[in-house]
Amino acid sequence: MKINDVILRTVVKGVVFIILTLGVYLFFSGHNAPGGGFIGGLVLGSGIVLLYITYDLETVHKKMPFDFKKVAAFGVLLATGSAIGSLYFNAPFLSQTDGYFNIPILGEKHLTTVTIFEAGVALTVIGTLVTIILSISEDE
């Protein structure tokens, strides 16, 4: 029996954008306020899981053809890569740096290498979360 999920599908179409935006907002606010890679990643991951619940695996997979195990692995690579980057500059392991840059149109912005590390964390969380949910749902 096919359940009638018109309401769910319609609501999700709008809501998923709000969730993803919130995820990105949390990710970037993490530097100076509550948030960060882990929490941002969790929210982004739950947005993706919501898509998987509403639509079936194939539909979502057509638009997002990622192997989420590899997304997680790439995240770890990014995070550890930014951590050992400091070895090249002969600074202690995990050292981070930051600076203010003048970017055309956007104006002066505060850029940090921590963001790369956090992006790695976020990707790892998204990859792991989605992989866990998908492997549970594949089980008959």
């Binding site: 590899k70 550890t80 890569g81």
Partner: protein, 492 residues
């Protein structure tokens, strides 16, 4: 500051993650993982040399000074274990190449081996007790996967028990950490040691210490080893060897570090407790080894006897005993790895695990049989092989401290170890062979290579004990005088 210290942790993690992308190119995975482990072994040796000449070195992550930041500390004790663990892992990988099978290799086998060794190395190197918890978890999560890899029914049953017991143990570890942080307000191991020494080890702190003893005993298989024989006998042989060689040793390392550095003051309670537990562990392990009818049972109970024996060294606590414990720890890592690789090969060759059903292996594989004989002698403690130095020094320490009961139990266990292993030798290697020379399965060259490497290492540790003694002496000096460690971290 020396960034070299973090490499034994971070190199395996990064290459392990890269291997995830190379899931189906097995040849490349083998090559990369071997190169990684050889590199880590060389790095560890260089670090050991540096520590020997310059004293304890530390690395404050991202420049946060102790006691505020997380740090890695390299002293001789930790580096000796990192070096041994890395070498043994390299050799076990060599064995895995020729025996493990393509199906398991594509299931992220090599990445998880690398994550396991990263966790093990991290646990040895960290100078922050919460970080120790994290590294334990890295190691355990990989071991959960490796217990179940292959997905046989018996593996799933045993892995469920293994996961449950370890999750409970990790939870208790966290509770103990919370109590510790609540009482001394710090997590840096050197700082904890300093503060415990300042206030004296009052009953509350001793209770916390006993809680840590309980947690690490679960991990090390000291007295609380009921989970060990089951879960160590189900994974593939190369993984069994790694587990038997490394996992319990990390628990033992944590026990030695905790009770020489952080809680050394109330020895009447803690060290007596460790002594009693070690004694009971050995007796129970001997019973298991005597009663065992199959190679796995005998092998796993021998692991338990080894754990008890090393911790006699800690319980006695004199300089000679601790020296012996370090020697025996190194010996046990190598010898148990070889024992389990051989056991795995026996089962592979005959398709049987019950010793009575195997017979005459030495006729078809003479070298294989004599290598088993070497490991048998080493585990018993026959000179000049690796077990001898450790046993004699622990014995000497026990006599100095007049703990004759532990002495008697320890040395009686050697006879039981000899008997249980000799039983395998007589039943399975000697006697009439049931398989003719033409029909025998050949032993893969890689497996032979790993047996020979490990056997050579065993002989080297025994004969070359003198060349190791500079490092061991330095390690003992740090363990016996916690102030050396504390000063290296907090002053300078």
């Amino acid at each position: 500051m020396n960034n070299l210290i973090v490499l034994p942790l971070i190199i395996p993690i990064i290459t392990g993650v890269i291997l995830v992308f190379l899931r189906h190119s097995i040849m490349l995975q083998r090559v990369i993982s071997t190169i990684t482990m050889i590199t880590v072994s060389i790095m560890s040796f260089i670090l050991l040399e540096i520590v020997e000449s310059e004293g304890i070195i530390r690395l404050d992550f991202s420049g946060w000074l102790p006691p505020f930041g997380i740090l890695f500390v390299a002293d001789s004790f930790a580096m000796l274990l990192v070096l041994t663990a890395s070498i043994v892992t390299t050799i076990c990988l060599l064995y895995a190449f020729s025996t493990i099978g393509k199906q398991i290799e594509t299931m992220f086998f090599y990445p998880f081996i690398l994550f396991l060794i990263a966790g093990v190395n991290g646990s040895f190197l960290t100078g922050d007790i919460f970080n120790l918890f994290v590294c334990f978890e890295v190691m355990l999560l990989s071991s959960y996967v490796l217990v179940a890899i292959g997905g046989k029914k018996v593996q799933l049953r045993e892995s469920l028990k293994y996961v449950l017991i370890n999750v409970v143990a990790s939870w208790m570890f966290l509770v103990a950490l919370a109590f510790l942080y609540g009482t001394v307000k710090t997590l840096n191991m050197a700082h904890i040691a300093q503060r415990v020494a300042e206030v004296g080890q009052e009953p509350l702190l001793t209770t916390v210490a006993v809680l840590f003893l309980l947690v690490f005993s679960l991990k090390a298989g000291l007295l609380l080893f009921f989970w060990l024989p089951g879960s160590y006998s189900v994974p593939p042989a190369a993984v069994q060897a790694l587990f038997a060689a490394l996992l319990t040793k990390v628990g033992i390392y944590a026990l030695i570090r905790t009770f020489t550095l952080m809680f050394p003051l109330n020895q009447d309670i803690t060290h007596t407790l460790i002594g009693v537990m070690a004694g009971i562990t050995i007796i129970a392990g001997c019973m298991g080894a005597l009663a065992g009818r199959d190679v796995y049972t005998i092998g796993t109970y021998n692991v338990i006897i080894g754990v008890g024996f090393i911790l006699i060294g800690l319980a006695v606590g004199t300089e000679a005993a601790i020296t012996g414990a370090i020697y025996y720890l190194i010996h046990d890592i190598v010898a148990k790895a070889l024992l389990f690789l051989i056991i795995g090969m026996m089962v592979y060759l005959t398709g049987e695990s019950v010793i009575k059903n195997m017979s005459g292996l030495i006729r078809n594989y003479p070298l294989f049989g004599w290598i088993y004989f070497i490991v048998l002698l080493a585990l018993t403690g026959v000179p000049p092989l690796s077990g001898f130095v450790g046993k004699i020094l622990i014995g000497q320490g026990a006599i100095e401290a007049e703990s004759y009961i532990l002495l008697a139990i320890g040395f009686a266990s050697s006879i039981i170890v000899l008997y249980s292993l000799l039983r395998i030798f007589l039943a399975s290697f000697f006697g009439e062979t049931t398989i003719s020379f033409e029909d025998r399965k050949p032993i893969p060259k890689g497996a032979y290579g790993s047996f020979i490497f490990l056997a050579v290492t065993i002989v080297f540790i025994g004969v070359g004990a003198e060349s190791l003694s500079v490092y061991v002496k330095d390690a003992v000096n740090t363990l016996m005088n916690p102030s050396v460690y504390i000063d290296a971290i907090l002053k300078g």
